[in-house]
């Protein structure tokens, strides 16, 4: 009941950028407003011939792509297509077998720790501590990113305010509804103002309303200039992205804006595009 109240406040007081109510309206508005953001042609991630093998299994097969500064970059693919492997390499959690990877102007092999200062990461697995309160989680992650005590206090206030979580400040994470946990996890992942944030299936297992609210947070972060790299298998979310990559069996089989992709594959929506591409994979087998 309590959290219902927070949600209500959130919906009424915070300036929701793309109307909470009407479903499809948000997409058009967003793409229409796209130029408001600082999307330019400067590349913030460059990947050249990236290969990752686990024994004989090739999870990433010669990937080549760039992510532009400030864009929302969608990384799509069926389960097991190799999305998580790529994201783990970009975050410095996993060594590539071969290839060049440059993140935020830094080499992933030699400047791993500098890369980590410049990125945020939110995994599909839940990343907050269940037995810590909202504030304690914020303080801990901000602390290990090297923020000072005073800075943490102000940042935490702003963050909780934005999420409408002030009253839940001293509640344990395990007592929060799933949607709130995910929104908080995202906000914690960007607490140190990274240049890029990697989101690995951030909206898995939440209801459509919470997903929409979550995407509002993503847009907000994008407007503040953070580049978003997001994997998902919800095709409606793919429509929110500036550009989309579709991975099939460890290879990139398409990379373009959602509207171009739909045109190329003569599809009415991203779902059809995805199915057409995924079908080619099945035919090849």
């Amino acid at each position: 009941m309590l959290y219902g109240a927070y949600e209500y406040r959130k919906l009424t007081t915070s300036p929701a950028p793309f109307g909470e109510g009407a479903g499809g309206g948000a997409i058009e508005q967003r793409t229409a407003n796209g130029e408001q953001r600082m999307t330019n042609n400067e590349n913030i991630i460059t990947v050249r011939n990236l290969v990752k093998k686990f024994g004989h299994f090739v999870a990433n097969d010669h990937l080549n792509f760039e992510v532009r500064k400030g864009e929302i970059f969608g990384f799509l693919g069926a389960n097991g297509a190799g999305k998580t492997t790529t994201i783990r390499i970009l975050c410095g959690l996993s060594y590539p077998t071969s290839g060049e990877v440059n993140v935020a102007g830094l080499d992933i092999y030699r400047q791993r720790n500098l890369v980590k200062r410049n990125i945020g990461y939110m995994s599909q697995r839940f990343s907050l501590y269940d037995d810590l309160t909202v504030y304690e989680n914020i303080r801990f992650y901000a602390g290990i990113y090297g923020l000072g005590r005073k800075e943490i206090v102000t940042k935490a206030e702003v963050l909780m305010n934005r999420l409408g979580l002030e009253a839940a400040r001293d509640k344990l994470i395990r007592d929060l509804p799933q949607g709130w946990k995910q929104k908080l996890a995202f906000s914690v992942a960007i607490i140190h103002d990274p240049k890029i944030v990697f989101l690995d299936e951030p909206t898995g297992g939440v209801d459509p309303i919470t997903r929409r609210q979550f995407w509002n947070l993503i847009f907000e972060a994008a407007r503040e200039g953070i580049t978003i790299f997001v994997t998902t298998h919800y095709m409606d979310e793919a429509e929110y992205c500036d550009r989309v990559t579709i991975m099939v069996d460890g290879k990139i089989s398409a990379l373009d804006t959602p509207s171009e992709l739909k045109k190329t594959y003569a599809a009415a929506n991203m779902n059809e595009v995805f199915l057409k591409l995924a079908r080619t994979a099945i035919n090849e087998e």
């Binding site: 975050c91 410095g92 959690l93 996993s94 060594y95 791993r112 720790n113 500098l114 980590k116 200062r117 990125i119 945020g120 990461y121 995994s123 697995r125 839940f126 990343s127 907050l128 501590y129 269940d130 037995d131 810590l132 304690e136 303080r139 801990f140 992650y141 602390g143 290990i144 990113y145 090297g146 000072g148 992942a189």
Partner: protein, 372 residues
């Protein structure tokens, strides 16, 4: 440095928010000390005896009554049948059969020598040895009394030219508790630090938060230090608490320096935490970590010299004990607490622990991977 403080703060919050922690920290030591110290004793009391007195003479009765009067023996069964006594032994009702043959007194008077048969249940070799020693003592005592009765004073003096007077050092009353308490304290500190540290990092792996930590620029050493410090502090507190209970409940002597005890414990706990950390880098679930920790702990504890003395182990086992941290620590604790040994006396064990701590923590830190 600041980063470490944030981790320590978080660990302490988590430890004390866990409802099981307070009982573990405060109840376990009390229960362990009370139960183990009283139960794990080699002192034998009330050894159950079956007596077969076939002689039924005044001498044989005198001998039986000496057994009855001893605090070590309890005559549970008397019969005239060897078979019956053996059945009792098989059932586990008695551990010693004393058989006095027919004609015992007559031979004693006529030939100055007589035989009795003693059968000991020797399933547990160590306690069989003790039963035998106690029995021999009683029979010797009986013998001496016979001499006093039968011989003239002059002859008695001639037979007792050499007397042995024994004084027991460091534990003059041969109080078993005094011997056990330092060992049990070592055990306590070990179990707390081993299990808690081993499970802690694995738990982060299990719930997935380790990934979130690994994407931060935090250094391995910072993370591990922050992780281990809280358990180091808790384990030292545990030792202090255990010592206090030992003092209050068992009035065990603490002859040596408390500083030396805590200095050694501080180093020792690092060894154990290092072990726990190493195990947690090699396992993926808390269950695996528990099992592996248990495997090592049981071997280390049984070989630590807590219950059986290391000196009586075979040479290969003694050599194996060089890698047993518990053995070093129990030795130090007993020496400092009971003998009042100073740093010079324990330096060998102490330096071994220092080397051990550095080696195992470096190995564990090296094994801990932020990137796979």
């Amino acid at each position: 440095m600041n980063t470490i403080l944030f981790i320590i703060q978080k660990e302490f919050i988590q430890v004390f928010r866990n409802r099981m922690m307070m009982p573990i920290i405060f109840v376990v030591p009390i229960v362990q000390l009370i139960i183990l110290v009283h139960a794990a004793t080699f002192e034998m009391k009330n050894i159950k005896v079956s007596v077969i007195d076939l002689d039924m003479s005044s001498s044989s009765r005198k001998m039986v009554s000496k057994f009855q009067g001893s605090p070590f023996f309890l005559v549970k069964h008397t019969s005239f049948s060897e078979k019956e006594a053996q059945t009792e032994m098989k059932k586990g009702n008695v551990d010693l059969i004393l058989q006095i043959p027919y004609g015992f007194e007559r031979r004693l008077v006529k030939e100055n020598t007589a035989k009795v048969q003693v059968v000991v249940n020797a399933i547990n070799g160590a306690s069989a040895g003790l039963i035998n020693a106690y029995t021999t003592m009683i029979i010797l005592d009986f013998n001496r009394e016979l001499l006093i009765d039968w011989l003239t004073p002059g002859m008695l003096a001639a037979t007792q030219n050499i007397t042995i007077s024994t004084s027991y050092w460091y534990n003059p009353k041969l109080n078993y508790k005094t011997y056990m308490v330092p060992g049990i304290l070592c055990l306590l500190v070990t179990i707390i630090s081993f299990l808690l540290s081993g499970m802690n990092i694995v738990r982060e792996k299990e719930i997935g938060t380790i990934e979130q930590i690994n994407v931060t620029p935090i250094r391995k050493v910072e993370f591990i230090t922050g992780k281990l410090m809280p358990f180091w502090i808790i384990a030292l507190f545990e030792l202090a608490f255990g010592l206090l209970i030992g003092k209050l409940l068992f009035s065990i002597p603490i002859i040596g320096s408390l500083w030396l005890i805590f200095l050694s414990a501080g180093v020792y706990i690092f060894v154990i935490l290092g072990f726990g950390l190493l195990i947690s880098t090699m396992t993926n679930t808390q269950q695996q970590s528990m099992l592996v920790s248990f495997f090592f702990m049981v071997i280390f504890i049984l070989m630590s010299g807590l219950f059986t003395s290391i000196e009586s182990m075979p040479v290969w086992a003694q050599n194996l004990d060089r890698i047993n941290p518990i053995a070093y620590f129990i030795r130090i604790m007993r020496m400092v607490m009971l003998k009042g040994s100073d740093f010079h006396d324990i330096r060998e064990s102490f330096y071994s622990l220092v080397v051990y701590a550095v080696a195992i923590i470096s190995f564990a830190v090296w094994r801990y991977r932020k990137v796979t």
